[in-house]
């Protein structure tokens, strides 16, 4: 009974957040987001990031090739495969650039499969989603303001393409905390 009440409370809060997300971002925050996007372009140009995406595109590791969405969801964050994504060179390079405003980072190859991340993503592949497809067109992408259910904070995801010789070979998605970004 109590669990049901709590679940209903979470849903109500989520809906309220969704309503809130519909609100426009203030120009000041947007300016900061734009600046972050420019920074992310530099992050995406990091050699370790480019090399990781290029290698992943060239030859998908067998353990990665065996994964699908269900298997991906069944893996815990402590699973060696998952830990491999957060401990490779690209992940380490991105973690070194990360600050408090960055809530999440994940790097995808051309097929939308994960190459590196700091936190386990919900989906194994983001192919077909704007946060991957738009950058793969060579353009940055900015999503709507969302409420992170676990943290209860508003965040906005932005994505930039990973370019190799001027051609998009992957995407770099970063979740920015509006609260930390506006501080």
């Amino acid at each position: 009974m109590k669990a049901r009440f709590i679940k209903s409370f979470v849903i109500v809060v989520t809906l309220a957040a969704s309503v809130a997300c519909g609100q426009s971002i203030s120009p000041a925050i947007q300016a900061k987001i734009d600046a972050r996007v420019r920074d992310l372009a530099a992050w995406a140009a990091d050699p370790a990031v480019v090399e990781a995406v290029r290698s992943h595109n060239a030859a998908l590791p067998a353990e990665h090739a065996a994964l699908n969405q269900d298997k991906w969801r069944a893996l815990t964050v402590l699973d060696p495969i998952v830990r491999g994504f957060s401990k490779n060179n690209a992940a380490l390079a991105l973690k070194a650039k990360k600050d408090d405003a960055v809530a999440e980072i994940f790097l995808s190859d051309a097929a939308g499969l994960k190459v590196a991340f700091l936190a386990k993503t919900s989906n194994w592949s983001h192919k077909g989603k704007d946060k991957h497809d738009v950058p793969m067109t060579g353009k940055p992408w900015q999503g709507q303001v969302e409420l992170d259910e676990s943290t209860g904070q508003q965040q906005v995801q932005v994505a930039v393409p990973v370019l190799d010789g001027g051609k998009p070979i992957g995407s770099l998605v970063v979740g920015l905390s509006l609260a930390k970004l506006g501080a």
């Binding site: 709590i6 979470v10 815990t76 964050v77 402590l78 957060s86 700091l118 259910e149 676990s150």
Partner: protein, 511 residues
């Protein structure tokens, strides 16, 4: 007196020891009671505090477990999740281990750990929302149950502590009653001992004070006697000095007389010697005068004889003249002239006879007188010899007198020396008398101190009124109460005074 003092000392010592022991017993009893109470209270407090600390620690661990898990729900970084997971597992293990001795709590913590694992299962799958849902639905209630179990445990601890505090208060109350009774008993014993002590000390002290008063009285009498004796000694010394002065003057006169006597004796001796020599010379002259008188007598005898011869001649002449006258008468005229001559011759003869008779008478008288003179000379010689003898005796006596005068002069010198010694002795006696007077004065002061000390002693023994109201036979009599007279001033002898004033004494030693 020493035994009484020793007894008092022993009593004071015993009373002090008793006081110290009583105080020590009270202090030790109080200290032991306080210590015991403190130790038990500290143990109780420590136990209660320990229980509450353990409860608080368990509460903190539960809250830590909850907060760590709640914080993990916000984490997405796998590295951070991994680190937080370690903290969570450590906190859970610590909470479960610390709850091992608390009945009811361990089960709730085990249930909390199971709920936490359920939350972690979702969280590790990356389903933070699901983990939050389980956290709210399962973990928080489990934590609530654990906290309630902990509260129950705290209430049990509090009740046990209250019960123990009540028990301790009752025990302390009983101990305080016993302690008060013991302290009251000790104080009562202390009062009795103090009363006995003051009684046992004041009585001997009263006796001592009484004896001291008597001794002080005697001492005062002795001091007065000594003072009177000192006065007499001083007066005697003064009189002695005066007598010495008179004696000195007399000795001076005697010395002059002796000296004059010695000189007179010496002159008398010379005169006696001259007298003896003159007497001896007179005796010689008398002998020679006796011889001369004898010669005169002899001459007178011879003259008498001659006178008688002359008388006889004159007689014969007269006869012859008569015969011639007769013859001239016969011769008539012729014989007339002759008769005249014969007459004349006969007148001459008669006159010669008359002169011879008168001369004879004179010579006889002279002889008689010479005899008388001889006799007188003899007597004078005898007298002179007697005078010589006497003169010799006088000479001897005068010599003896001179020697005696010299010895007397020497004796007078010795007497003067002795008088000088007597003078020094007198001075020494005067000084001694002065010192004795000073000592007497000091004794009077000491007596005053002794009197004040006795008074203090009376006050100490708490019988000041008794000492103040005492009369005859009591420690405070007129001798003690009266002002202490100063020692009579000693009249210093003149010799001593004169010597102190730098002039010679009247009985200066003759040199």
């Amino acid at each position: 007196m020493h035994a009484a003092t020793a007894t008092i000392r022993v009593r004071i010592l015993l009373f002090t020891i008793l006081s110290v022991v009583a105080t020590a017993v009270i202090a030790a009893g109080g200290g032991i009671l306080l210590r015991r109470t403190h130790v038990e209270s500290a143990a109780l407090t420590s136990r209660i505090s320990e229980d509450f600390r353990r409860s608080q620690a368990m509460f903190e661990r539960i809250v830590t477990t909850q907060s760590v898990l709640q914080a993990m729900l916000r984490l997405k970084d796998i590295d951070e999740i991994e680190q937080a997971l370690k903290r969570y597992e450590s906190a859970v293990a610590e909470a479960v281990r610390s709850a091992a001795g608390v009945p009811g709590l361990k089960e709730t913590l085990d249930a909390t750990a199971v709920a936490g694992k359920s939350v972690l299962a979702e969280l590790l799958l990356g389903n933070n929302a699901g983990a939050l849902e389980r956290y709210i639905a399962q973990f928080n209630p489990a934590v609530d149950r654990a906290i309630r179990a902990l509260q129950t445990e705290n209430q049990a601890i509090e009740r046990a502590a209250q019960a123990e505090v009540v028990g301790r208060e009752q025990t302390i109350r009983r101990l305080l009653v016993v302690c008060f009774a013991v302290v009251a008993g000790i104080i009562l014993l202390y009062i009795v001992a103090a009363w006995y002590f003051q009684r046992s000390v004041s009585r001997p002290l009263s006796g001592v004070a009484r004896r001291l008063s008597s001794a002080a009285e005697s001492l005062n009498g002795l001091a007065r006697t000594i003072s009177a004796s000192t006065s007499k000694v001083a007066e005697g010394a003064n009189n002695q000095a005066a007598s010495l002065e008179e004696t000195g003057a007399s000795l001076e006169e005697i010395s002059g007389m002796t000296r004059r006597n010695a000189e007179g004796a010496s002159r008398a001796k010379g005169i006696a010697s001259q007298t003896r020599a003159a007497a001896e010379s007179g005796t010689g002259d008398m002998g020679r005068m006796s011889s001369a008188m004898e010669a005169i007598k002899t001459s007178s005898d011879n003259i008498a004889k001659i006178i008688r011869t002359i008388d006889e001649i004159a007689f014969q002449t007269n006869i012859l003249a008569l015969n011639a006258a007769v013859e001239a008468a016969r011769a008539g005229e012729a014989g007339m002239g002759f008769a005249v001559v014969a007459e004349e011759v006969r007148s001459l003869a008669q006159r010669s006879a008359q002169a011879a008779r008168e001369t004879g008478e004179k010579i006889a008288d002279s002889i008689r007188k010479s005899d008388d003179g001889v006799a007188i000379c003899g007597k004078v010689a005898v007298g002179l010899r007697d005078i010589v003898t006497r003169a010799r005796e006088v000479d001897t006596l005068v010599g003896e007198i001179a020697a005696a005068s010299a010895e007397q002069n020497q004796g007078v010198q010795q007497v003067v020396t002795a008088v000088g010694q007597i003078d020094r002795v007198t001075q020494a006696n005067a000084a001694s008398a002065e010192e004795t007077a000073a000592a007497t004065t000091e004794m009077m002061r000491e007596f005053e101190v002794l009197r004040e000390t006795v008074e203090q002693l009376w006050q100490l023994v708490g019988q000041g009124e008794k000492s103040g109201t005492s009369s005859a036979g009591s420690p405070r009599n007129e001798l003690l109460d009266g002002p202490v007279e100063a020692a009579p001033s000693v009249q210093k002898p003149q010799a001593f005074v004169a010597r102190r004033q730098g002039r010679s004494a009247p009985v200066a030693v003759h040199s």
